[in-house]
């Protein structure tokens, strides 16, 4: 068990959003306030972990040809559970995320991890893989939320204190670029983040080459 390696992979070197570029739709669509990002992140961590564990447990009896369909059924089952739980206990979150909660079914991160990791590895390893990849996804969501909320609306932590709470005003409301809270901002901020990640990941290699 190399938990540390898996953790670093989930968070940095194999980050699901910034490096594997999976699950873009939800990443850009719902990162308009801190509350949305956190809710979506937690939902994905739960679903990813549970579906990874189940798929790893039944991987030996799944016929190879229909494995994708089996994965989707397992994932859809958990997504339905989480969807119903969110509607029951956090209705504000359900109404602000809308159609994107059931759409976690087709979030490529979960299907991608099922195909590339839990179909080939044991239950325990898949469990931790689910948690770490989920955390990697959540961290990126939160970074996007904070950037878009701060520069787009000038606030921080909108929706944490209450359903209609605006968050703390940090930049006076006449200055922020409202464009960033619109769909355009999602594309631009994610583009900048991936560029920064590619730059950061390519740097250590260069240093090593130079030292040789």
């Amino acid at each position: 068990m190399n938990l540390k390696k898996q953790f670093m992979e989930g968070l940095l070197t194999q980050n699901p959003v910034l490096v594997q570029v999976l699950g873009m739709c939800s990443t850009m669509a719902i990162t308009t306030s801190f509350f949305n990002g956190l809710g979506m992140g937690v939902a994905v961590i739960v679903i990813l972990t549970l579906s990874n564990v189940i798929i790893a447990a039944i991987r030996k009896i799944i016929p190879n040809k229909i494995r994708i369909a089996m994965f989707i059924v397992v994932i859809a089952g958990f997504v339905t559970c989480v969807d119903l739980l969110i509607q029951a206990f956090v209705p504000d979150l359900a109404s602000s995320l809308g159609v994107f909660i059931p759409l976690i079914v087709v979030n490529c991160i979960i299907l991608g991890r099922a195909e590339s990791f839990s179909y080939k590895n044991g239950v325990a390893a898949s469990f931790f893989d689910g948690i770490f990849q989920g955390i990697g996804y959540t961290v990126v969501l939160l970074i996007m939320c904070i950037i878009r909320e701060l520069l787009g609306a000038g606030t921080f932590g909108g929706g944490i204190l209450g359903p209609d709470a605006k968050g703390i005003q940090i930049i006076p409301s006449q200055f922020p670029a409202g464009m960033l809270t619109l769909p355009v901002g999602g594309f631009l901020v994610l583009g900048c983040l991936i560029a920064a990640m590619q730059w950061a990941l390519s740097r250590p290699k260069k240093n090593k080459e130079e030292s040789k």
Partner: protein, 196 residues
Amino acid sequence: MDQIYQLLAIMLGAILANNFIFSQFLGICPFLGVSKKVDTAVGMGIAVTFVMGLASAVCFLVNNYVLIPLGLGYMQTVAFILVIASLVQFIEMFLQKSMPSLYTALGVYLPLITTNCAVLGVVLLNVQNNYNFISSVVYGITGGLGFLLAIVLFASIRERLVFADYPKCWDGFPIALVTAGLMALAFMGFSGLKIW
């Protein structure tokens, strides 16, 4: 007459003002993945349009005549994804037998449509908006046409991006995302088109 106005509003909204890619963020993965060449982009767009229209029709029937009478509304997500997966499988077999040239042109992208969130998204939005059968099908097809428009425009820009000179760390997805962002900005202009 009202019905016609409503359909027209749905069409304009789905193609331009509320384009699936640029304002609803549905179907971004194939949009970024299959847009390196205009030819494949056109093929993907047409396949997605076809599946979206068909899925809207079938899922409407399944939802209204099977799930709701049986009180299984909470099984929507599972039922819809199964319908979509089997539809895609069926289309794949049909094309393989009757139109082999189109089948080879679409190649690996055909099975990937199952996990295209625009398809599941349009079905769920149909239910959420309480569309009737005709509106659902029209919304599905025009949503697909909006996807086709977006992916073809984007692919033709990306073909020219090869010659552009930008910092190396922006290579690949980042520059594509920024390009898509600027296109989204252009499409925002259509949001003034409100006839409803």
